[in-house]
């Protein structure tokens, strides 16, 4: 039987990517460009979108070239329909529609968060994991139950990626270690800290966490100057990750899952990985971290999820491809996931 190839487009935030994946799970190519904001600034949606417009055709062209298949072998176009920044999503969606119409193949809009889970399952061989998605856009604990991915715990306000990004920006910490990637600055500084800052709040509510109060307090304390910035980074990490480990463990023991999957940009943090490993060690549970190349935003995950959806009979018309900047993960029916666990073990 001949293979089915899907072309995927990712454009939810800072990364514009184009990938081609076959239905036996091979990633032929994954071309990316990343919008880097001015030092000390966040992503401005319009600026990122303009950057995407300038680079998109080159990325798509390169992807097709490097994949060594011809465009008419592509049988499906998948794109990240949400959630994300509106202007950025719109660029990806427009390109996807154009490709779908000109190649005359079906189009499928994919949920970015679900795509993180599906590529993670593909690359780690997990079947029914409790997935922890930690990134700038998501901080949630997800498992499959009764036809959808369900959210068993999440942040009540800002995400873990947000917490670190805003902390670094507010205190202009990139100045301290200019060579360091924005996302790793707290982790790097924390390595030279070790004293616990007691004034920081630890906020767990049920299976949820809240990081906004922790952020405000950490900034205040840093400005007071009583503690070194290294100690504050150390404590910030310890507390934020402990909160996440605790709610993950809660969901894990309640759902009795046998696998834990870590994904999203923040899961590259080594201390977080170590703590999660320590957490599962008493539970006889497998844990896997999605390789950083594919835990960060990419288009292979979009193409792969598109294939899964397509093969399960999901169909979309062009009219259904409006972007969904605030699409929640638990609003998506997932006919491609079999109910391995049955509905009962999914109960909280």
């Amino acid at each position: 039987m001949s293979l089915l190839y899907a072309l995927g487009i990712e454009s939810t935030a800072h990364t514009f990517a184009c990938s081609i994946v076959s239905d036996d799970g091979k990633i032929l190519v994954d071309e990316r460009v990343r919008f880097t904001p001015e030092k000390g600034k966040g992503i401005h949606p319009r600026e990122a979108a303009n950057f995407f417009v300038e680079n998109a055709s080159k990325v798509v062209e390169n992807a097709i070239k490097k994949s060594s298949i011809s465009p008419d072998e592509i049988s499906l176009v998948a794109f990240a329909q949400g959630p994300g920044l509106g202007p950025c999503l719109r660029v990806g969606a427009t390109i996807a529609r154009t490709l779908s119409l000109s190649l005359n193949v079906p189009i499928i809009g994919v949920h970015h968060g679900i795509a993180h889970i599906e590529i993670g399952k593909l690359l780690t061989g997990m079947h029914d994991p409790l997935t922890v998605i930690v990134s700038g856009g998501h901080t949630c604990i997800v498992a499959h139950n009764a036809g959808r991915y369900r959210i068993y715990g999440e942040t009540l306000d800002i995400t873990l990626g947000n917490l670190f990004d805003v902390f670094v920006r507010e205190l202009d910490l990139s100045r301290k270690i200019p060579a360091c990637k924005m996302g790793s600055i707290v982790e790097e500084l924390a390595k030279n800290g070790g004293t616990m800052v007691e004034e920081l709040p630890y906020i767990v509510k049920g299976n949820d966490v809240s990081y906004s109060g922790l952020l405000t307090r950490a900034i205040e304390i840093a400005r007071e100057g009583k503690y070194s910035i290294e100690d504050i980074c150390f404590s910030l990490q310890e507390i934020a990750f402990s909160m996440l480990c605790e709610v993950t463990e809660r969901a894990l023991t309640q759902l009795r899952k046998k696998e834990v999957l870590l994904t999203g940009g923040v899961c590259a943090n080594k201390r977080l990985q170590e703590m999660m490993r320590d957490m599962v060690s008493i539970h006889n549970v497998k844990i896997a971290v999605v390789p950083s190349e594919y835990s960060a935003d990419n288009a292979a995950m979009i193409a792969w999820t598109g294939i899964l959806a397509y093969k399960a009979g999901v169909k979309m018309d062009i009219e259904d491809t409006f972007i969904k900047p605030r699409w929640r993960l638990d609003e998506v029916d997932t006919p491609w996931v079999s109910n391995i666990s049955g509905s009962r073990s999914g109960n909280l």
Partner: protein, 219 residues
């Protein structure tokens, strides 16, 4: 004489190890908050102490206002241990799919009444899910596991409880959500006069979360 006989482990939760044993000569549940390897030792002690103390206080208070919870037998803060009555019943989680809607609705209303009573007396359960509600055959519902409970005047905390309960129901019992939640709210309103302002706040908490479509319409 030995006061506490640990007996056997009945569950290893995220928070504590639970034993079923004896307190003097009575059947009892022993809840020990154990050290978490992943957690910084200082933080670890702080959390275990705070939660053990709070849970004990809440168990006593809840009982005194007529909410069925296990009787507190013994507290050992130095070992982060609580000893309490053993409730011989079934978890609501396990039976939701088996009982008729009519009965489920009645039980949910009863649960709402209890939560209304708690909130009216400044107590939040902190982890309200169907895993923390037990049904004892002839005596009705019991609330268990106040490990994340709090005593507070802050309406935000009551509202968070309602919001999280709603979310947990949607994740765990999507098919029964309407039956349970509607009746729950009916019960909640009947015992708690300020229910409406709490429910209103609960919807603003929902809007604060990530990726909520209603956000856009509000702007």
């Amino acid at each position: 004489m030995k006061l506490i006989h640990l007996g056997s482990v009945i569950s290893v939760g995220a928070e504590a190890v639970i034993y079923k044993g004896y307190f003097i000569d009575r059947e009892a549940v022993i809840k020990k908050r154990v050290r978490k390897k992943y957690r910084n030792p200082l933080l670890d002690k702080r959390i275990r102490l705070l939660r053990t103390r709070r849970e004990a206080i809440i168990l006593v208070r809840a009982r005194s206002i007529g909410v069925p919870v296990p009787i507190l037998y013994y507290l050992d803060l130095s070992d982060y241990t609580i000893v309490m009555e053993h409730i011989d019943g079934e978890l609501l989680r396990e039976i939701v799919d088996e009982i008729h809607d009519e009965k489920l609705s009645k039980l949910s209303e009863q649960l709402g009444k209890f939560i209304g009573l708690l909130h009216g007396n400044k107590i939040v359960h902190g982890d309200l899910t169907t895993s923390n509600v037990m049904l004892k055959d002839d005596e009705g519902l019991y609330l268990i596991d106040f490990g994340l409970g709090n005593i507070t005047y802050d309406i935000e905390e009551y509202a968070t409880e309602i919001h999280l309960f709603k979310r947990a129901l949607k994740a765990s019992h999507p098919d029964k959500f309407n039956t349970i939640f509607k009746s729950f709210i009916r019960g909640y309103r009947s015992t708690y006069p300020k229910a409406d302002s709490v429910l209103e706040r609960a919807s603003t908490i929902e809007l604060r979360g990530r990726y909520i479509e209603k956000n856009r319409r509000r702007k």
